[in-house]
């Protein structure tokens, strides 16, 4: 009865709210997806944070810092949404540290030059935005509202990255080479951010039925590629895919084979920076413990005084 009522509401495009009845698997799926999304925002601060102290102008410094700060904010919105499902942020962070929760593999690639700040903003944020725009219509109310807020705030992220790439592509020969190199390194990992092909994506069925996901991995990936190819052309950079070709019939780009062995290897912990990213997060968390303890102790003393 509950199950039928629930699915009817989903089919009628009604939002599910925290206090509504929901199947256990729906809740579990949401916790996994939202927490993975939240962890991605937080771990995603590191590859870009890596360049804040080296940003080459005052303007670039402020923009990059504001952007990475937004990611912290977005992680927080998402943890909030996840907490409405009855799980604490502390527990979610523990799951991350214990390796039980994942984050997007893209952040396990290193950022090696300033041009990577361009590539990350343009491609990684670009891919994330395509996904997030779609998720604004997700069936879980708090997640959907979080996405709306995030999409609104993120609109500058991709632009700032593209601006860096455009500036460098028309700069000195060294800068142009750095920009092309960054595109070469980030292109394939970016289009693999959408996840496995639909044929290999076991959970897509339920996620689509429950309208947690609104479009499949392949549809989102195609959308991103179709949007991005022209942008690369405008700034005179070459997308590193010899098979990339406009398909008149599909009105979309055909593209080459993705290297799924590498994808799964990075997902399973063997990316260039997996250990480093997690160690960084744990270290910050552990080193902050005495601060959090002190703040709690202080608050308790204040409450005693007040009572």
């Amino acid at each position: 009865m509950n199950e039928k009522y629930f699915q009817d509401r989903i089919d009628a495009e009604k939002k599910i709210e925290p206090k509504d009845w929901m199947p256990d698997d729906y809740r579990k799926h949401l916790i996994r997806q939202i927490s993975q999304h939240a962890h991605s925002e937080i771990i995603g601060m590191q590859p870009e944070g890596n360049w804040i102290t080296r940003a080459p102008s005052l303007r670039a410094k402020m923009i990059l810092l504001a952007k990475v700060q937004d990611e912290a904010g977005h992680g927080l919105y998402l943890y909030s949404a996840c907490e409405t499902l009855g799980i604490s942020r502390e527990k979610l962070v523990r799951q991350l540290h214990e390796g039980k929760a994942k984050y997007s593999s893209i952040f396990n690639y290193p950022t090696l030059s300033w041009a990577d700040m361009g590539a990350v903003g343009w491609l990684v944020d670009g891919a994330a935005i395509v996904n997030q725009v779609s998720l604004q219509r997700t069936s879980y109310g708090p997640y959907s509202r979080g996405m709306v807020k995030i999409c609104k705030e993120e609109s500058f992220h991709q632009r700032q990255g593209y601006e860096i790439m455009a500036e460098m592509a028309k700069g000195t020969a060294e800068q142009k080479a750095m920009a092309q190199d960054a595109l070469n390194r980030f292109w394939w990992p970016s289009i693999m951010m959408f996840g496995p092909q639909d044929s290999d994506s076991p959970r897509t069925g339920n996620a689509m039925k429950w309208k947690i996901k609104r479009q499949t991995n392949d549809a989102l990936r195609q959308d991103f590629i179709d949007k991005t190819v022209g942008q690369a052309e405008v700034i005179g950079l070459t997308i590193p895919d010899p098979d990339l070709k406009w398909n008149e019939v599909r009105q979309s780009y055909d593209f080459g084979e993705m290297n799924w062995d590498e994808f799964w290897s990075v997902v399973n912990g063997n990316g260039p920076c997996n250990k480093q990213r997690l160690a960084h997060h744990k270290k910050a968390h552990d080193q902050g413990k005495w601060v959090r303890d002190a703040a709690k102790a202080y608050a308790k003393k204040q409450e005693l005084v007040a009572n």
Binding site: I52, Q69, A72, W290
Partner: protein, 248 residues
């Protein structure tokens, strides 16, 4: 180099270096909320630095704000030594910021009355931000001082270590005096008693002991620094130095 140019540069340098230190906290904060708060402070400091550098660049007429920030050497930086001190841990950072925030609050309050309209306008804008920074660092000083035994020890130790960098804040050299006589500069030495009073009140609230005034470091105004500044600059200026012909 005009006196006004150098005076403006000194203010900009302290803002930039403290902003740089605060930006090192990004992704390292004790909570996510605090990470965001520290980025906000850093952004305010960079904004202030940018404003003062723009003015300095205008006074100079040959260098841009970015050139002033990214193409000068250690001996040409005039920031307070206090702001270049390492973050070390959250407590040390809050103590350093608190000591500087109190000064900044009093300094900008006075500078907003400067006869130089640009300095006065920049000071008024900065003052709003600095008031918030002071609130933030004072609140944390009290939480940590009156938190656990461990936190009290940590901030008390940091206070002892950083105290020697507070003397410099109130120094006046010939350049300061010259501009003070023109109604442009702030009388730093006159800020000391009010600084003492705010610091003392907060320390009492935080259950911390004020360190004895002993040896006080000096040199920032002359471009003399602790060893930390060289590393800050080599990291911050890397791209501008490595690719001198590039525009970013």
């Amino acid at each position: 180099m005009s006196s006004l140019f150098t005076y403006t540069l000194r203010i900009a340098d302290s803002s930039l270096i403290l902003g740089q230190r605060m930006s090192e906290w990004c992704s390292n904060g004790p909570t996510l909320e605090e990470d965001i708060a520290m980025s906000n402070i850093s952004l305010d400091m960079f904004g202030q630095a940018n404003g003062f550098y723009q003015y300095a660049a205008q006074l100079d007429g040959t260098k841009s704000a970015d050139e002033l920030a990214f193409r000068r050497n250690e001996r040409e930086f005039f920031n307070h030594q206090l702001v270049e001190q390492e973050n070390r841990d959250f407590g040390t950072t809050m103590v350093r910021n608190f000591l500087h925030d109190v000064f900044n609050f009093l300094f900008y309050t006075e500078l907003s009355k400067s006869k130089d309209e640009t300095l006065s306008a920049l000071a008024s804008k900065s003052l709003k931000e600095v008031k918030y920074h002071l609130r933030h660092s004072s609140n944390w000083l009290v939480r940590l001082g009156d938190g656990t035994g461990e936190s009290n020890t940590k901030v008390q130790d940091a206070l002892k270590e950083l105290w020697m960098y507070t003397g410099e804040l109130f120094e006046m050299d010939n350049l300061d005096t010259e501009l003070l006589n023109n109604g442009i500069a702030v009388d730093n030495s006159a800020l000391k008693s009010e600084w003492d009073s705010i610091v003392n009140k907060t320390l009492v609230k935080a259950k911390l002991t004020r360190p004895e005034d002993a040896y006080m470091a000096t040199g920032g105004k002359k471009g003399l620094h602790t060893e930390y500044l060289g590393f800050i600059l080599s990291e911050m200026q890397f791209l501008q130095r490595a690719y001198p012909d590039a525009k970013w």
